[in-house]
Symmetry: C2
Subunit: 330 residues, 2 copies
């Protein structure tokens, strides 16, 4: 394993310090680096908080800012943040309008965010939760009860974040988040494993001609291992799984998110955009919005995921609303 | 080599089609995919055109749009675009105010852009050129006469692009571009090689504990090969080379660009931000602007480069000016 680092023990802290310095116009670190928060929170706005293990950057800290999150709690690499971190974040950014927690469906994250919500509620804070579980690859996994929450989480964060800026109330934001999650499905493939710095060896092994179909964002096993196929064949299998599982669309428009896992060049991601658009077009589905990049990663794993969110006019407007974060800005 | 692709022969075309579709609000493809251009060009504005081999994405096509380039010519992977492509781009975006070519210093690029400039001049078009050569690692290389042009090129494109939007004339833009290049230095290190799809094998070999100090963006050799050091030691060597070569600063402010080569996680890039800031601070240099990300890449090569541009108030204002491209937006 080769890493640009000093020692494993301080890697996350040093990275967070660099992140906060590079984006000091947008964010600041909480005490003891428990969370990354917006520099300025809006009084009376519902606060959105997410978090999870590190190693998925820019998720979540890169999405803190106007139009998305108010705070993000970073755990160690692939390790849930603690309830203590979440409570500190809640106390820092709740201005009295309540807090919405956006939680990827992994056992550690769900348990710790639940505990934090209970602690905050005991202090008379209003807290609601949206759990994302957009990964259709496997019904449950080594790390989750039920489906995993993956790249679709950023779609939930963006759309709910826009609605929160427009003064939507806590319960409505929760319902909106759940609705976006219900209309969102993802599927990932890995061409290489990733290596957790503290472990030092790859999370799994792949032969030089193999890929993992349905991989999770920690390198967890998917549906099967198979020979590397063509981009068209891979996109076809990914989209068949996604479209076969989505509720019947009321319209024919969708958001297409092609997400790199960290080690895959942008050139290949755009090639996947092209393949996916053709397949969707053949099925009468129009891609009305795109997002392409390495946004929900698994350290340096090669591969990508496809996420589809069914859009309507209201969700499209919220997607288009301004966002100013370290890693998404329009 | 594992790639998300169909066949090598159509890889670039499929990727360009995906890129153009995903960003159709900003760009469109020229005929036969000879160039990527802004959807709308401003009458009377000097047109900025760059280009080079593919495999460095998002450079250059990802920087076409308001506040940066008017067109970019993509060659095959690590191969110069042809004069024919450049002439077509010039004809497409020159509105009569002239064209500034921004060219990385590689023999093929320089030769072909020169030929295109001569052809355009023969048709009574006004064409000027800025050649970037910000890489201090080696005085010349396998691919260049003199220093290589690397990540600093995007700084030139951004600052000159902003000035062009503000109606600066052709010769002044050329001089500004050369001035930014003179105040900009870069240095890169590789932790792994990259693999050109058409070749199928890595561009060079590195032992599991080795790194290449001073690598180029095609994996060209740098100063030496050595054991992988700590991030602090690496940043120290990179910045010593950069600062030792820069002209004496008139002020003490700089832009710090930490650029990933493609295979290095964002967590490590931000850790390098932290290391670089500390070293610069110790030398009395203040980082007043940051840019961090995999922006001038070498396919899936692991590693990073540091670029420093000495800023003054005018350059800072131009850096801060609005930009709306596929990969830079503020």
């Amino acid at each position: 394993m080769k890493r640009l680092m000093n020692v494993v023990e301080t890697m996350l802290d040093e990275s967070l310090d660099g992140f906060a310095a590079a984006h000091s116009d947008i964010v600041e670190l909480g005490s003891e680096r428990k969370f990354v928060r917006r520099r300025t929170v809006s009084q009376g706005k519902v606060a959105l908080i997410s978090g999870g293990g590190s190693g998925h950057e820019p998720l979540h800290a890169g999405f803190v800012g106007l139009g998305m999150l108010d705070a993000a709690c970073p755990g160690q690499v692939f390790t849930s943040p603690t309830p203590d971190q979440m409570v500190a974040a809640i106390e820092a950014v709740d201005t009295g309008a309540g807090v919405l927690l956006i939680v990827k469906n992994y056992e550690g994250d769900v348990m710790n965010f639940e505990m934090a919500a209970e602690l905050a509620a005991a202090s008379d804070r209003r807290v609601e939760t949206v759990v994302t579980n957009d990964d259709v690859a496997v019904p449950k996994s080594t790390w989750s009860t039920g489906r995993r929450g993956v790249a679709g989480t950023l779609v939930v964060e963006k759309i709910v974040g826009a609605a929160a800026e427009q003064a939507m109330g806590l319960e409505d934001l929760r319902d909106l988040g759940r609705r976006v999650n219900e209309r969102t499905r993802s599927f990932g493939v890995a061409l290489s494993p990733c290596t957790v710095p503290a472990a030092g060896s790859p999370t799994f092994e792949l032969a030089p001609d193999e890929m993992e179909i349905g991989v999770g964002i920690h390198g967890e096993p998917g549906r099967r291992r198979t020979k590397l196929g063509s981009a068209d064949a891979i996109a076809e299998e990914m989209l068949s799984a996604i479209l076969g599982d989505l509720p019947p669309p009321s319209g024919n428009k969708c958001l297409l998110l092609i997400n790199g896992f960290g080690g895959t060049p942008l050139m290949e991601l755009y090639l996947m955009v092209n393949a996916a658009r053709r397949i969707l077009g053949d099925r009468g589905i129009m891609v009305s919005r795109h997002l392409t990049g390495s946004l929900v990663t698994s350290l340096d794993m090669a591969g990508c995921s496809i996420t589809i969110t069914l859009l309507d006019d209201r969700l499209t407007r919220l997607w288009d609303a301004p966002v100013k974060t370290a890693s998404l800005s329009w």
